[in-house]
Structures are given as C-alpha cells and as structure tokens.
C-alpha cells in the first residue's frame, strides 16, 4: 500500500542520459549540491526524460538560481565536511509500511555518525518493533498517546547532542543530515529546519496541497531567523520556519526552553501545532533558527480530498490552539496574539482566500475556517485531557 515515489530530485550534475518516469509528466525539483533550484515539469517519452532537457528547462526557468548554486557549490568545495554525531528520532504509530520506506532511506544516509531511534507511540501490536529490529535501529515505546509525548521520549532516549526529527511518512534525501549538520556548524544556531518536498503528485489532492495551498515547507532560499530581531508577527508565523517532518535541534535548547508541549499535536485534541510551538519558543527566547532548503525530506501528502479536508481542518485547529498556547505561555503579549489571530491569520490567510478565490477550492478553505473556529473548544479539551493523562501516569 505504500506508493513508490514519483517526484524526483533532479541533480543538475546528473551524469546519466535519462531520468526514468513511470508517469507521462515528470515532476522534478531541480537542485544542485547546495541549493534547490526550482520545480520543473517535463513530458516523458518512452518512460523517461533526457537529462539534457531537464537541465535546459531548469536553466531557462531559473537562470539566477543556477548561477547562484554553481557559485555556492564552488565555495562549498572548500569546506570541511561536518562530522558532529546526530540522533534521528522517528515517531510512529501503527504504520509499519510507511515506516519501512522511511527507515530504508534513513538507514542509508550519506553521513558518517548517526543513530536512528524509532519511538512507537501507544502501539496496538508489535509490527513496528519487529520492523525496527529488522533494520537494526533502536526502538523505544511511549505508552501515552500523543506525538509530543513520543518526541519528548525520543529526546530523553537519544544520545547525541544534535537531534533531528522526521515523521514516519517521509523519505529523507541521502544528503539530509549532511546539510543539517552543516547548518549547525555555526555555534549559535539552535534549530535547523529544511525543505519538505512531496513524494508523489499524482492525485488532485496532492497537487492542490502542494501548489495551491502552499505545501508544508516550500521556501527555496536559506534563511537565518534571529529571535531577537523578529517582530511579533514574525515570531507568531512560525509555520513559515519549517515543519515537524524536517527539523533538528541542539539538545541544550530543548532543555532550556523545555521539551515539546504534550498538550499539542497529533494524538491530542489539539491535533497539531507541537512543532510550531517549539519553533516559536526557540525564537521567542532569542535563539537562532536556520532554515536550510538543501536539507530535503520528501513527504507523502494526503491522497484523497476527504483526507485533505480533514488535514486542513486540523491545520486550522492546530494553528489556533498553538496561538492560544502562546498566549498562555506569555511568550509575546496576548493582545498582540489576538491582533495576529484576527488580522494575519483569519483575515490575511483564511478569509482572503475565501472571498478572493485563488484556484484553491472554497470548501477546503471552509474546512480550515471551521478548524479555526473550533479551536477554543479543542484547546480546553486538550487542557482537560492533559489533566487526565497526568493523573493516570502519576
């Protein structure tokens, strides 16, 4: 049931003659060693596309980025490869098929020293455990349901000082850790996030999510966010800095700002926002976060419209629960959060697309709006359930 990836990462330096493609149109993200360049879409003939043609397309569509990547590669040639050991934490819950795809990629990364840790969140059976054993990776169980519980367990169990997180429905690029570790060579960088590229773009839901909604993380330019230089709105738009499918932290920052908030994210009534809350807290405490687009993780988007609608509902819900959590944590003044929620999120993001359609179906926007409006209920519910679980675990 796991699908083969159809979206390619096309290296400009690719020396082969053709790139195979099972589909009539090949969607590829062109990139060089150190920089993603841009999307290209080429018609395939006889099950493949000539690399020459892909290269031509990339150059004509993104000339400045091609030159930029060439210069950056030539500069990068002089650097020593980073060596710092990394712990990779993968939180999963009863999805051994997808996890297998993820582990295949993660266990063969182009990086000298790293450990892989699978955190099984409230599992129903031992399939995941067997799978982990088969790949020879570390396996721990987190019995309390909730992604952030699992992440915190991963932090506690991991051994290295750099901790990278990804989800079970992803496939990291072989150079993923290399770029993450390279960004961490600057001592004051506390968090690194990367680009999330879809695995497949075959269904309407996938294309809508990636190209109309804005995908998960799409920026192709490197960005350094220094917490104390950011305005309030910049701090609150933490979805612009990355996503949980592709993020890494220094252990010390996780310790100093406290771990992931267990009242948030998948598996709790909040349904999301744990990663955003963490980015926000890292930045609001004045730390530095680097978005490194060369660190690429491919992610399987929702394939059918119902699942996509559900996801957007969760996005709206999770984002607003995250905002309410910020207000509770007093990281920025609550009146600023209210201003942000009304003017930036509701008006600038949700309602603007509702009233000025941009090719994105209205009913999906409505789902996001409903998620937004239901957030207060879920926020209270997640606080109550937190009370219960802590009573149980205590």
């Amino acid at each position: 049931m796991t699908r083969e990836p159809s979206v390619r990462l096309f290296d400009l330096e690719d020396a082969s003659d053709t790139v195979a493609s099972a589909l009539p149109v090949l969607d590829a993200l062109a990139r060089s060693r150190s920089l993603p360049i841009g999307w290209i879409h080429a018609e395939a003939r006889d099950g493949g596309v000539a690399t020459e043609r892909l290269r031509q397309q990339a150059v004509l569509a993104y000339p400045a980025r091609v030159v930029r990547s060439a210069i950056r590669d030539s500069l990068a040639g002089a650097w020593a490869a980073p060596q710092a050991p990394v712990s990779v934490v993968i939180c999963t819950r009863d999805r051994p098929d997808r996890l297998a795809r993820c582990l295949r990629a993660v266990t063969s990364l182009d990086y000298p020293v790293y450990e892989v840790l699978v955190v099984d969140n409230a599992p129903r059976d031992d399939a995941t455990k067997k799978l982990a054993a088969g790949f020879g990776v570390r396996y721990v169980v987190e019995p309390v349901p909730g992604l952030d519980h699992a992440r915190n367990r991963g932090i506690a169990e991991s051994v290295h000082d750099l901790i990278a997180f990804t989800d079970d429905d992803t496939r990291p690029d072989p150079l993923w850790l290399r770029h993450i570790a390279r960004a961490f060579t600057v001592p004051d960088v506390m968090a690194v996030t990367g680009l999330v590229v879809p695995l497949c773009l075959e269904t309407e839901a996938e294309r809508l999510f990636e190209f109309s909604y804005g995908g998960m993380v799409q920026a192709l330019d490197r960005r350094t966010a220094r917490g104390r230089d950011l305005s309030g709105w910049d701090l609150l738009w933490s979805s612009a800095y990355g996503a949980g499918a592709n993020m890494a932290f220094r252990r010390q920052v996780l310790e100093s700002v406290g771990g992931f908030d267990p009242r948030l994210d998948v598996g709790t009534p909040a349904g999301g926002g744990g990663d955003l809350d963490m980015f926000h807290r890292v930045l609001a405490n004045g730390h530095t976060l680097v978005y490194e687009p060369a660190a690429i993780v491919q992610h399987e988007h929702r394939t059918d419209m119902r699942a996509l609608r559900r996801q957007l509902f969760d996005n709206g819900r999770g984002f607003c629960v995250y905002l309410m959590t910020c207000a509770r944590n007093r990281t920025v003044p609550p009146r600023l959060i209210l201003d942000f929620a009304l003017r930036a999120w509701l008006r600038g993001w949700v309602l603007r697309r509702l009233f000025r359609p941009s090719g994105f179906p209205r009913r999906l926007v409505v789902a996001e709006l409903l998620g937004t409006l239901s957030a207060p209920y879920y926020y209270l519910a997640s606080r109550r359930s937190r009370g219960r679980t802590s009573a149980r675990s205590g």
Partner: protein
Amino acid sequence: MPTAIVQLELSDPPSTLRVGESYDRAFVVGRLSGRPVAHAVLSVVDGIVDRESVFDHVAAWLASRSSHHPPGSGTRESAAPRDPPSATVAVCSRDRPDDLRRCLVALARVRGDGCEVIVVDNDAVSPGATAAVAGEFAAVRCVRETRPGLSAARNRAIAESSGDVVCFTDDDAVPEPGWLDALRAPFDDPMVWCVTGLTLPLELETEAQELFERHTSHGRGYEARRFRGAETNPLAIGQVGAGVNMAIRRTAFEQIGAFDPALGAGSPARAGEDYDLFTRILAAGFHIAYEPAAVVWHRHRRDPRDLKSAFYAYSVGVYAYLTRTLLVEREPAAIRYGAKWLFQHQLPALWRALLGDPGALPLSFRTAELRALAVAPALYLAGRIRRRSDR
C-alpha cells in the same frame, strides 16, 4: 550587543570573515569591483561571521548580477565618460569638531582633482571650534555663518561656491574616496539637476544606533535610479535620498531658489529642507539620479535620548515640508501624502507599539510622532515669520 560593519569584495571573498570579539552581529556590505551590491546583517560567533550565511549571500549577490552576463565580462558598454563638472564640497558643521575632523580627513582622501572644500561654521555653543578644526586642513576654506540653521549654512555654502555642482555632506559623515567621482558622473545628462548617493552606517556600537539603522535607514537600495519630474509626482521623494549625501547643479539654485531657511536642522521645523528641494526640482521637470556607487558612511546618534529626538525631528520636518508644499508650492497632493504617511506608516507603527510588539519602537517614540503632526504646521509658519523678522 553591538554590530560590526564589514565590507566584502565579492570577487575575492575571504574564507573567514573576522570582526572584533565583542560583536555578535555584522552588517556586511558586499561590493563587486568596488561597487556596492547589497548588504545583510549576519550572526557573529567568537569574532567570526557565520560562514554559511556569508557564502550564501555572496552566491546570491553575485548571481543576481551575473545570470545573464558573467561578472566583469564588460559586455555592457557604457557611453564614453566625459569630463565631470567641477565640484564644490560643502560641509556644514555646528559644535561637533571631532566629527568634523574625521569628515575632513576622509574628504582629503576623496579623489576629486583639487575640487574646492568649504566648511560652513555654524557654531552656537563654542564659537571658533569649527574654524580651528578646519584650519588644520590646508585645502579647506572655512566661512562663518551666524544665522543658525542648516539651511542658512547650506545657502551660505552655495553663495561661496565656485563649482558647477555643489556636493553636500554632513560633519558626522565619512565619504569614500570614490564618492565625488560617482556623485558627479550622472551630471553628464543636462536633465539631471540633483544626484543622491547611498548612505551606510559608520558604526552600530550602541542600541540607539542599531534601532536608528533598522527603523529609519538612509539606505535607498543598490540599483541606480532616475526620478523624472515629468513622470513622477514631485512629492514622491521618499526614495530619493537625503541631504547627507547629495549634489546639486549650482544653476538649479538660481532657477528654483535655495534651501528654505524655515526648514532644516536649527529651524523650528527641525528637518525637511532636502525633501523640499527635491520636490521643487521634480516640479520643475528635471531629474534626480540616485547613484549607489557614491557612498557616505554616516555616524548615527549614539545616545538613546538623541534617537528619540531624531525621530521627533524627522516627523516634524516631514509634516513641515508638507505644509510648505501645500501652502507655498500650492500642491494639493501634500494632503494626500501626509495622510498616506500617517495612515500607512505612523498609525500602524503606533498600533504595534500599543500591542507590545517586541520588534516595535517604544510607544513614546510613536506618540512623539503624532505630536509632531499636531505642531509641525505651526512650527513651520513660526520659522517663516522668524526669518522675515530677521531680514
């Protein structure tokens, strides 16, 4: 924590960019064959500027100049350079002998085939200090202007000048050696009456200086621009530049008059005299060229109290300039531009300050701006009346 100022030649990027240990950020200016191309503020750890970011920016800046033509390939022929017009450099100074000395030392290094340098001594507190500093430099002529105010001092400089163009800079600024050449080049075109240049911070040692740079940056970008009076509204001068780095054809003053003494530092209106002149040049249908290769490094105020008064002064100056434009130049668009500034810039900034945004300036700065709106028209008129009674 202070910010270091670093320059970087893109054609020869060092593998490590070092600054003093005390800095935690660096304001990095990239230059390609000497021409400024872009700048960025990057992190510094242990005196080393973040290499990843340096290389990223070097690549981006170079690529932005070279995806079509390789840099330095000389494919863009430019019209043969012609003899630049003769220039007079005017520096108006008031009770800042130390700054003035630094400025004059820099001016002595400016390439300019022996052009004339005039210092206008506008001292109020300690008469004689400016003249004493100017006296240390053989090539500098010092004239005393007793009427207070930057406009009066500049008008005096114009009256004393002999060059075809008068180049202005301030005593707290440091021009580069190539400043004069770059600033004079666009005067080739007879339509150009005024040239402005790029102003960058000389130092960002105190928080006040960092805030000043971030919130009221003089920088007008790195692309040469042309403002044509026949095509733009003469009030659209927000991107033109500022009096700290500009040159004006001397004949222009004969045609459209000199600086308005009721505007500018030292008058009740405190600022705005440069904007007023830009507007009059554009209203007469001539061009203002913005030339980023003409670089002046400006030392912002170090003291936070000065910063607040600078914000207030700037605000008063803008509204006073708009008052003048409305009443004297009879431009009804002044009302529109004033409203635009108030509603699109000042009120949103005030709102952010009220919300407690960590990136916003303190509330008191913003309320001072509003106070400026209330008093500026009256202050401008007061300045005019005072001038009339002076005469």
